[in-house]
């Protein structure tokens, strides 16, 4: 299955929802925000949002800024 993560197309496997994706990437859930097809998904909903072919996902985190 190919999806677009942060602007780059990636082939992923054995991942059915957002929580799987976050875990597979080794990301700290407390430090990131996830947008699924332009919609921000609250953390407690990650397990309920399925990922399908062609989805666009943004994963962002806080960094230093002025």
């Amino acid at each position: 299955m190919v999806i677009k993560i942060n602007g780059k197309e990636q082939a992923i496997e054995e991942i059915s929802n957002l929580i799987d994706l976050v875990n597979s990437k080794g990301l700290n859930p407390g430090a990131i925000v996830v947008e699924h097809n332009l919609e921000v998904i609250p953390k407690d909903m990650w397990s309920e949002v399925s990922i399908a072919e062609g989805d666009t996902i943004e994963i962002v985190s806080f960094v230093g800024g002025g």
Binding site: N6, G7, N28, A31, V60, S61, F62, V63, G65, G66
Partner: protein, 259 residues
């Protein structure tokens, strides 16, 4: 009695807002923030690099600080709105510094797109503080659209050039009902003190701290300068004079006694 700045329902003791970008390392940010005494701290959002593990900036920000996420990277109102929503979803509160920039050389803000973003975000309950080009009429519109404060630039972002827009900012302070916070370009504590003496409600500083040889020392210096400027504003200066006015009594002493 106490001199409190109220923005977005919060009572801020410190009028020194601090940005967290460009520091040589993240660990120093905690000390900088502590030295600054800041109540409001800005952060940015960026795409995670899924190939490396980055430290979480939020770990370095004291819990009692109010986080304000900026919309840096946004080139129009829609992008700013999108970033704001992402930020709020992260559970870090609803303070947003709107920053919409299409000019990559001087990073000057786009007042019209900024105004549009304010209109949308204020309605969604965000506490919106727009970074803006100093402009009285636009500032009035931003206030009417629900901005919690306006943040005119002193000089371009990251230049350390000081308050080069005093003429326009001074008028805004006089004519605008919401807080005026000078953001961008302040390079020295004396710049910050000058803003506060003019009646600005706060200042936001980042580059001057991050590029100092000793960021922690500079943070403390700015903090003192902001208090100094605010204190002077409240204590009210006596005004300038063209000619000299003796501070010691000159009359008569030894003048006629030499005979």
């Amino acid at each position: 009695m106490e001199d409190i700045l109220r923005i977005g329902g919060k009572s801020l003791r410190s009028r020194f807002f601090v940005g967290t970008g460009k520091f040589p390392n993240k660990a120093i940010i905690r000390d900088v923030l502590e030295a600054s005494g800041a109540d409001v701290v800005t952060v940015a959002l960026r795409r995670v690099d899924t190939d490396s593990v980055d430290e979480n900036i939020l770990e370095y920000i004291p819990d009692n600080c109010t986080l304000m996420t900026n919309t840096s990277g946004a080139r129009n109102a829609d992008e700013a709105v999108r970033i704001a929503r992402l930020a709020r979803a992260a559970g870090c509160g609803d303070w947003i510094k709107i920053e919409v920039i299409s000019d990559n050389k001087y990073l000057l803000p786009d007042n019209m797109e900024t105004l549009k973003a304010i209109e949308i975000l204020a309605k969604e309950g965000f506490i919106v503080l727009p970074y803006m080009n100093p402009d009285l009429t636009m500032a009035k519109r931003m206030a009417a659209a629900g901005a919690a404060a306006v943040m005119p630039l002193g000089s371009p972002i990251g230049t350390n050039r000081g308050l080069k827009t005093e003429e326009l900012v001074k008028i805004m302070v006089e004519e605008i009902d919401i807080p005026v916070i000078v953001d961008a370009g302040l390079g020295r504590p004396s710049d910050a003190a000058r803003c506060m003496e003019l009646g600005c409600d706060a200042v936001l500083v980042n580059t001057a701290l991050a590029t100092a040889k000793d960021p922690v020392g500079m943070a403390k210096a700015f903090s003192q300068a902001v208090e100094a400027g605010r204190g002077a504003y409240l204590a009210q200066t006596g005004g300038e004079r063209e000619c000299a006015s003796a501070s010691s009594p000159l009359t008569g002493f030894l003048t006629s006694s030499g005979e």
